[in-house]
Assembly symmetry: C2
Homo-oligomer: 343 residues x 2
DNA sequence: CGCCAAACTGACAACGATGTCAGAATGACG
DNA sequence: CGTCATTCTGACATCGTTGTCAGTTTGGCG
């Protein structure tokens, strides 16, 4: 037999389709008695409203788009996981749309997704949440939008982030507290706004402790472990090598660990290493890497919560500060950092 | 102004909505002249058909579901990436549905997704593609289904896989060719059917070379690096330790590498280690891990191709062998395996 | 030139829900 | 007991597209 529709339920319950609709959507003005009868029939027939028909008539799609740069990364996976959990809870569905800013035609793909799917909202992950052209597309289409860990918040959009600057500062203070002074910092790519904030935090902590930053120990990587390895090797083979290296993400920290291993430098006895993100690689490394836990899944879930909020949908982030969320991070102290021993 | 509909296009082009529909869908029987005129207007107005309206009337949703156990794993990410590429190419969209077989109510979530979204097809990743109850749901709902790397193929469904057995055999032969005889094998969890096939390949190669398998060197892990580390440590501290360890996946191989490092056993000089999957961890490790490249993204893309095939949609896999695809693997020889040196 | 099949084209009714609005039942109150 | 406001309920139009089918051209051919 074919699929159960609202009419089937209505007929069986002896009411009109509209009444069934009211019950389904929890609207007021239905006698308790009727409501129960309808609910019974719904359960009996295992009726599931057709999302398309519903969308068509209500102009809501119950679909959220997750726009993401590199859907293969572990970062993306965590974001997506959180978003998925949020969607489940609020009976939305999630459509994942990869956006490669370097590829031709990405703008058209984005427009297509928005227009064809009538997305109810967009979650935009870093680093593309900092792209003005992409933001303009969402603004033009008037799609409720939440940015995850952006550098700035265009008017109207919601944001969910952590305090990268503070976290990096705390991490640096951890190293300083262990007695380290010659601390190297491996920057992330300029395309990731978070990496600049992390550097700021690093410098703020150094300045706060009255320790001058040795600029020869500040180098730029691209968030890959390969870069971490190469830069790490060049740092530890310096005439006056650092006693600690703070990498702006975990993959690069892992690379540093590998470099240390190749150069037979014991970690953390001779070199402390720390990263940022609490990526899986930080846990599978040995020693495990001291890092900052970024609440990625929680941020994505919060993004869904914002998008589902009727007030945000109506008024945008102008409605209040509830839509500029900042979540707590956590220093995860593990085996790769230890006290400084003079040689 | 509001969104452009097919009527706007029709009015502007001076034709009926139906004719526009014909042009959009590439149907025959439209004069070339009119066709071009319509296409011009479509471009001009930047018209994008409403996917919901289209689905509602045509009973096709242009939505594929990706059903996956643990959406956070790197494996899942690769699968999803391939599926996403395939969808882009064929103007489908992808809806990701996590399925935790251990959680209560998963069956209902699956049914909901199928019924509410009228999914045009389902891609099911391992290990849940081996679950009979889940398969029964798809069968009952008559959703075209393709299984990725399943242990068996229920009638009607398509499958995309690699030859785990052969690959494991080749990997084992690689180790044998290097002179290793005391080869350990770390099995995967019983819930992953692939791990059994990998073990079969291992045993077949050993038998083929006339080398008896030392059953004390065959241990079971759960695909995590932690398990690899613990089992690896117990293996290398055996009175007569193996000279090579073949782990059924890369995360466990990474764990073995870490165990070796802790025990100060040089790899590959005193111990060869190899894995399976070509996971990111195999590349970021040091030395890099010899492994089997599993064409995960390609498999997922092939799955989309099958689902998009009209003949498959009509007749299911009964239509022919084209719907039981086997893709090639590749041995990736890297630094973690080397020739056997007697001590 | 006339006829007939084939190629076009469009009117209209779905698809399955919800928004609108008018009408029916109910209850409060004078 | 009548009136009026309030609470319920359902008929019907609507969302934007495609399927059906009938009507209109067009073109080939005798």
């Amino acid at each position: 037999m074919s699929v159960v529709t609202i009419k089937d339920v209505a007929a069986r319950a002896g009411v009109s389709a509209k009444t069934v609709s009211r019950v389904i959507n929890g609207e007021a003005h239905v006698r308790a008695e009727l409501r129960e009868a309808v609910q019974r029939v719904v359960a009996e027939l295992d009726y599931r409203p057709n999302a398309f028909a519903r969308s068509l008539s209500s102009s809501r799609s119950y679909l959220l788009g997750l726009f993401i740069d590199d859907p293969v990364s572990g970062y993306a996976a965590d974001i997506q996981h959180g978003a998925l959990i949020g969607c489940r809870l609020r009976s939305y569905h999630l459509v994942v749309e990869p956006v490669e800013l370097s590829a031709r035609g990405w703008a058209d793909d984005v427009r297509s997704a928005i227009a064809a799917l009538r997305l109810d909202g967009a979650i935009v992950a870093p680093p593309i949440c900092d792209d003005p052209e992409l933001m303009a597309i969402f603004a033009e289409a008037a799609v409720p939008t939440v940015l995850v860990a952006p550098s700035a918040a265009p008017p109207g959009v919601g944001t969910v982030r952590m305090d990268d600057r503070l976290a990096a500062r705390e991490m640096t203070e951890h190293l300083l507290g262990l007695g380290h002074r010659a601390i190297a910092f491996i920057q992330g790519p300029v395309t990731h706004s978070a990496s600049a904030r992390r550097e700021e935090g690093f410098r703020a902590a150094m300045a706060g402790a009255g320790v001058a930053v040795d600029e020869r120990l500040v180098v730029r990587g691209d968030f890959t472990s390969r870069a971490g390895m190469e830069l790490g090797e060049s740092l530890v083979t310096l005439p006056e090598p650092p006693s600690a290296i703070f990498a702006a993400n975990d993959d690069m920290a892992l690379g540093v660990l590998i470099a240390a291993m190749k150069c037979a430098i014991p970690v953390p006895e001779r070199l402390s290493v720390c990263g940022f993100d609490d990526a899986p690689s930080s846990r599978t490394a040995w020693p495990q890497i001291t890092t900052v836990r970024q609440p990625k899944a929680e941020m994505a879930k919060a993004a869904v919560d914002i998008l589902a909020d009727p007030r945000f949908r109506r008024e945008g982030s102008a409605a209040g500060t509830d839509y500029q969320i900042r979540l707590a991070h956590e220093l995860v102290l593990r085996g790769s950092t230890g006290p400084f021993f003079p040689r």
